[in-house]
Subunit: 159 residues, 2 copies
């Protein structure tokens, strides 16, 4: 059956698990576990929003003013996490990329072009059709993303 879901409060992976995966990943690649990397992962985990490198950096500076995390480190860590498929990036419009933790279930995006809010949803029927289409064309799917642009209910009311 098809169903629309926008509720992701019950994360599929707990933070401890996530952190442990991260440590394994780092060890496997001879990389070091640093405070900055942990703070970035933690901030991504505790944010329900899709973050730009800049907004992520701001969040971190507010929460950890003592730790002078540089924007370059944020970029470097996001690249690392993206390469390892721990985060996913979404690029839309002119304003560059937004990142989200990839540990949640797969989902698609509703993007409000007025307020910029991104809402997530999953539809089984669409997922099934995507598999059917790629099978039919002999295309080996590794990932997919769908964005629907428009005006969210909130913005329609405010207008």
């Amino acid at each position: 059956m098809s169903q629309v879901t926008t509720d992701f409060n019950d994360r599929t992976i707990e933070y401890k698990q996530l952190l442990s995966d991260f440590r394994v990943l780092l060890k496997k690649n001879n990389l070091k576990f640093t405070i900055q990397r942990e703070v970035i992962l933690d901030t991504l985990y505790n944010s329900d929003e899709h973050l730009t490198p800049e907004s992520l950096h701001n969040l971190i500076q507010n929460k950890h003013p003592d730790l002078k995390t540089g924007i370059a480190t944020v970029y470097r860590t996001l690249s690392l996490l993206e390469d390892s498929d721990m985060v996913t990036s979404l690029s839309f419009g002119a304003q560059g990329k937004k990142y989200e933790l990839g540990a949640k279930e797969h989902h698609d995006h509703l993007i409000c072009t007025k307020c910029g809010t991104i809402t997530e949803f999953v539809d089984d029927e669409i997922e099934a059709r995507q598999r059917a289409i790629t099978d039919e064309l002999g295309f080996k799917m590794s990932d997919h993303s769908m964005q629907i642009y428009g005006i969210c209910q909130q913005c329609q009311q405010n207008n």
Copy 2:
């Protein structure tokens, strides 16, 4: 019925019509019809690829070496065309935006992460579900885009 289509050789809008629409658009906004703008529209029309501003500029320089079209004009014209919904942009990965003429039928994209080829397709069932989902959530859809990433048949064989 659902159907997969990858054949867009029969353009829904002829070039003359397109050009005429463009002239109307320009006149309506008190803008001028210049050689540069025509060449850009023509090059977009005659390309089956999704073009970056840079690749579009290169194509134009090769085809019209006499006309020293600047990259700035390409950017300006693409913005103009995008604002008027005559072209659509697709941003994915790190390499910035790619543009395509929006006069064709709506379609989604299969993107080969190996060779970079973009194949188009349309699926009625997915389109219908998208409408159903947005209706259900009270979201006023203006546009949507879907990308499926993976390895195309060609690249699988070459491997």
